[in-house]
């Protein structure tokens, strides 16, 4: 089945597997997150009930998205914000660029947002000639390295602190001298602070949109969202339409799930709700607040069997606990979102034909579903993509022919007994001392492991002989 994988995925995965530093970096971060999450969940009274409730809140909103979005729009406008609607990624970028132009923006302070990555905002800003300063330290690292995020909550998780130190020394004007995390953070601070404070426009994402108040909620550990919304004159929020929750009492239980599932912390360092621009008497805040509500395929996902996926709150637990992600990291997935949730989302966002590997590069072990705070049946959704790929003829001929032959024989029990008997005899010829070290057509197996020799006779043959005795 050498033609099973697409070269692009295979090359990326092979490159990742060949990179020992990547493995160290991924294990340091995801391994720590896994351990801390386990402690946090153990200490949580009835986490299972909380998951059920969180999933129910999201399901309710997704089923009634239209009315809640209209309510959010009305509340946000009443609070003085301007609300924009974007069907596609391009439309969303265009809206943001128009706001930036109207504000005469030369530079923007951007706070890490996966929706921003999804719609290609960094690229759009560059094309428009608008300077971009990243307020999230890891996004700053990614910008310096000219890369894309490899994880949805730790964009630079693929880099070790040693690699980051070298990068800062190469790119910062007055880099750190001492090899400590604190000194490296100071180096970034010296580089970024003035630029952040001088930005004309701030752009952030949203973790939750509160329908009845029009508030936008962000969670960060560095205060980076606040840096994109307080100093600049104009603040733009770009958010996927599935981020809605009905009210604050619904946002709070979701927040409890989000932080614990992501990092194992009870809460993030900063959890901020902001409603509208600066009012008279406010000490700070932007003069204008714009909220861009982005569909970019979400309505279609809801209609085409992926409604469960819209519950996702982007915590990253699925990828932190994924055996495949832990081996190949995020870049190998090739899309905006990596790991199990990315493997479900990327075919919807970027097309199935070029991303069918993502649905298959999964052992269906179910761990992602087990840790998902909103109970997304990720393995079932991945199997849904496999089925669609099969139906649309995207699966390789060798796979179709192999499975077809197997099924044809297996639905004819008498022939099946004959066939398996012959196969056993043939395969046994290749074995030595109980093991087969190289097997044609199963090179994927024997390249890395030995195959135990099958028994001389099948169970059915032996059983029937015994019955006749």
């Amino acid at each position: 089945m050498s033609d099973f994988t697409t070269p692009s995925f295979l090359n990326r995965a092979d490159a990742a597997l060949a990179d020992p530093i990547l493995k160290i970096a991924v294990e340091r971060t995801a391994g720590t997150a896994e351990a801390k999450r386990a402690i946090a969940i153990d200490a949580f009274p009835d986490f299972e009930a909380a998951r059920t409730r969180a999933a129910a809140i999201k399901d309710h909103v997704i089923a009634h998205l239209g009315p809640y979005l209209e309510q959010f729009e009305a509340s946000a406008i009443a609070a003085g914000a301007q609300v924009h609607w974007a069907q596609t990624a391009d439309e969303a970028c265009q809206i943001v660029m128009n706001i930036c132009k109207a504000a005469g923006a030369k530079s923007v302070a951007r706070s890490k947002s996966m929706l921003g990555e999804e719609i290609g905002l960094p690229h759009a800003l560059e094309e428009a000639g608008i300077g971009r300063v990243e307020t999230d330290l890891a996004e700053h690292i990614i910008q310096l390295a000219d890369e894309r995020p490899s994880h949805i909550i730790w964009p630079a998780m693929h880099k070790t602190r040693e690699q980051v130190s070298a990068l800062f020394k190469a790119k910062h004007r007055t880099p750190h001298e001492e090899e400590t995390i604190a000194a490296m953070a100071q180096s970034a601070r010296r580089e970024l602070r003035a630029k952040m404070l001088g930005a004309d426009v701030g752009i952030s994402g949203a973790n939750f949109l509160i329908a009845d108040t029009g508030a936008v909620c962000t969670v960060t550990n560095e205060g980076n969202a606040e840096l994109s919304l307080v100093p600049p004159r104009v603040h733009i929020v770009t958010a996927g339409i599935e981020k809605i929750v009905p009210s604050m009492p619904h946002a709070i239980p979701m927040l409890r799930m989000l932080a614990r599932s992501a990092t194992g912390a009870a809460l993030t360092q900063y959890t901020t709700f902001y409603t509208g621009p600066r009012r008279s008497g406010d000490r700070d805040g932007p003069e204008e607040m714009h909220i861009v509500l982005v569909d970019n395929g979400r309505t279609k996902m809801r209609e085409e069997g992926l409604a469960d996926m819209l519950r996702c709150i982007r915590c990253g637990a699925c990828m932190n606990h994924c055996v495949v992600f832990r081996q190949i990291g995020g870049h190998a997935y090739g899309g905006t979102y990596p790991g199990p949730m990315g493997a479900v989302l990327t075919p919807a966002l970027d097309g199935l034909a070029s991303n069918r590997d993502l649905a298959h590069a999964c052992t269906l072990n179910g761990k992602c579903q087990e840790v998902c705070p909103v109970k997304i049946p990720l393995p079932t959704l991945l199997k849904g993509w496999r089925e669609k790929s099969w139906r649309e003829g995207l699966e390789p001929t060798s796979m179709r022919a192999g499975l077809g032959l197997w099924a044809w024989v297996a639905t004819r029990p008498a022939l099946y007994r004959l066939g398996t008997g012959l196969a056993i005899r043939a395969i046994r010829l290749l074995g030595r001392k109980g093991w087969i070290a190289s097997l044609p057509l199963a090179g994927g197996w024997t390249r890395y492991r030995d195959l135990p020799k099958p028994a001389a006779q099948s169970f059915m043959t032996q059983y029937q002989r015994e019955q006749r005795k």
Partner: protein, 251 residues
Amino acid sequence: MTRNVALFVTCLVDIMRPRIGFAAIRALEAAGCEVVVPQGQTCCGQPALNSGDRDHAVALAKQTIAALEPYEAIVVPSGSCAGTIRCHYPELFEQDATWLPRAQAVAAKTFEVMAYLDEVCGWKPDGVRLPATATYHDSCSGLRELGIKAQPRRLLNAIDGLSMSPLSGAETCCGFGGTFCVKYPAISNAIVGEKAAAIDATGANLLLAGDLGCLMNMAGKLHRDGSKVRAFHAIELIAGMGDGPAIGEEA
């Protein structure tokens, strides 16, 4: 009361390691069951189901349902095949008014063998002795689809002389994943490499699990790496057949 049970052998056990099937029969009979092996069975269709090949999965599911539905209970020496019948057959026939009730009826009376012995029969091995140290890997489908965790350990604890050494990351996938391991061999190898190292680190001389696919993956890697750890399906030990050849050893 005699329980009449049908053994669904599974294609992998049928072809690769029949003694797992015979061990299941021996343990079930010791637990007071009358065991039959329905002849119409082949494969449950899991490879087709997990590859997106719905039509073939449906055809094999129908054949399996028809072969198994006459019996009081169906017992399977594999968590993933039992999980396919119990959890996924009813999903396959969600839109089929004729087959859905048949699929549901078979699903409801299908059990993984160790869960059946422990929970339904309330049985445990009696007079089985095997002086050895074993470690146990929880295969994913059995663990997460059927909740198989305590049952095999309860049965194994009743074996005289057997001591259990816990496996670090026992609930972490071994990287088998059915066709995954041949579609993405390098990724699968990286995963099973870590698993093999964890198994070796337990100091156990036996590796046990409840699914032959996972066992072949782990045993094949251990053997390639030169490890001395020997692998068995847990039911082989439970049935008192732990003194025979391990996976990859000639009888």
